[in-house]
């Protein structure tokens, strides 16, 4: 290969490499719907954690704190979910999510399960400030709703 040709090849390859840089950066950015729903679940986990640590006996039960966490969970359950779950944001279509395509498929139970989370959160908020035992008993159904969804609609890590 002559020198000019080598130079041209090198220049072209450099150009390709440069032009692909912003593309790569874009591909690594999270889809905003995915970021939003993951943030939502982190807020849920944080508040469940406040109650869960009390239920486990790792922190002392405090009525006001328990009520605040339960209220937050109830509020979370009332957020309209439609913008978090854009079709095409499953783990087969994009990176960075464990959401299975089954969420969007015929017969999906996710809306019913989310409804059970809401019912559980409402029942929890009713009693969370009334004492450790009632709070602990009402935390179970909330956790069960989380698990029901993770069972069939979230991929293993």
């Amino acid at each position: 290969m002559s020198l000019p040709r080598t130079l041209i090849t090198a220049a072209l390859m450099g150009g390709i490499a440069l032009s692909s840089l912003p593309l790569t950066a874009t591909a690594q950015e999270q889809n905003p719907a995915v970021t939003a729903r993951q943030g939502q679940f982190q807020i849920m986990a944080l508040n469940i954690g406040v109650l869960g640590q009390m239920a486990r006996g790792n922190t002392d039960y405090d009525a006001e704190t328990a009520q605040a966490a339960a209220n937050n969970l109830l509020t979370m359950s009332q957020i309209d979910q439609r913008f978090h779950w854009v079709p095409g944001t499953d783990n087969e279509s994009i990176e960075g999510t464990r959401a299975l395509p089954a969420i969007w498929e015929e017969g999906s139970q996710v809306i019913a399960i989310w409804g059970r989370f809401g019912e559980g959160a409402a029942a929890l908020a009713e009693v969370a400030g009334d004492g450790l035992d009632p709070m602990r008993a009402s935390l179970g159904p909330v956790g069960a709703a989380c698990g029901d969804c993770h069972d069939d609609y979230r991929a293993e890590e």
């Binding site: 944080l46 469940i48 869960g52 993770h150 069972d151 991929a155 293993e156 890590e157």
Partner: protein, 299 residues
């Protein structure tokens, strides 16, 4: 030439006979179990530790329905799809007419009352390590459960894996009578080892498998591809699982990770079982996991 043919036929006959002998079903006899009396009340803990309901109850069964062991759940694998049979006390469809010796033969040798080899999708490989008294208690407990008259479904396994007798050879290669973790353990850790290795069969999902589908004991509980084909089952070795013993024991009870993510998948069903055990037993499992050899070293 004729001599050579004769020699070959002779060798082939010896080989085939040896194979036939090696793969013959070994039955535990009534005499061997005559001294055992099952205690149904004690058997309940064995039932939950052994995880029977996770496979033999209906999929997604919860509460009392987990005690109806009519079978039917499908388990995909590289060798075909296995279906859990009915092990409820129904005398026709289930195991209601089995003797204790037949039950132990199934649980510890992987052999049906008719002398047929079970596929090791059924973890007799683990239950083999269990105390016979515990299994007698389990058998007594299972007889108190509701009967289901649902017929067991056939497995969907293609040739050559459809030859059940070949499982006998597999057993020669892979059946073991020793625990995997053999280091010096405290009483609590040893209890955890018994629960994890002999009853709960954690290794079936958390340990990678070799070419013939056997759990690779040299990579014990080091994590594995999920049998569903979706993602990975995590490693439980202390270098990989950085939860405290208390966090592990609590997770096995309430299903929340240390960051209060809720367990999903098959582990959820495992937790529904283990939540029925004494707290000390969950702590024992956690203590045992803390003694696992780190990933990338052989036990």
């Amino acid at each position: 030439m004729r001599r050579l043919v004769r020699a070959i036929i002779l060798l082939a006959t010896i080989g085939a006979s040896a194979g036939w002998v090696l793969t013959r079903p070994v039955h535990i006899t009534d005499d061997e179990v005559a001294a055992l009396t099952g205690d149904a009340a004690a058997g309940e803990a064995v039932f939950w530790a052994g995880g029977c309901a996770s496979c033999h109850a209906a999929e997604d069964a919860s509460g009392e329905a987990r005690l109806i062991l009519g079978g039917g759940q499908a388990f995909p694998s590289d060798f075909g799809t296995f279906r859990a049979p009915n092990i409820s006390p129904d005398p026709t469809q289930g195991i209601g007419d089995w003797s204790l010796a037949q039950f132990l033969t199934a649980m510890q040798n992987g052999i049906s009352p008719e002398g047929q080899h079970y596929y090791p999708a059924f973890p007799y490989t683990a239950y083999r390590l269990a105390d016979r008294q515990d299994l007698a208690d389990l058998f007594a407990f299972m007889q108190t459960l509701p009967a289901s008259d649902q017929a067991s479904l056939p497995h969907d396994v293609g040739f050559p894996f459809s030859i059940r007798r070949a499982v006998g050879l597999w057993n020669v290669l892979y059946l073991r009578d020793e625990f995997v973790v053999t280091s010096d353990l405290t009483e609590e850790e040893a209890r955890g080892r018994y629960l994890s290795e002999a009853l709960a069969h954690c290794g079936e999902c958390h340990t990678p498998r070799g070419a013939l589908g056997a759990v690779d004991r040299s990579r014990w509980l080091q994590g594995a591809p999920a049998l569903t084909g979706r993602g990975t089952i995590p490693a439980l070795t202390p270098d990989e699982l950085d939860w405290s013993a208390d966090e592990i024991a609590a997770y096995l009870n309430d299903g929340f990770t240390p960051t209060f993510d809720a367990a999903g998948g098959h582990m959820r069903s495992v937790i529904a079982n283990l939540a029925n055990l004494d707290e000390a037993d969950r702590a024992a499992i956690a203590a045992y996991l803390g003694r696992l050899p780190p990933s990338d070293t052989a036990p």
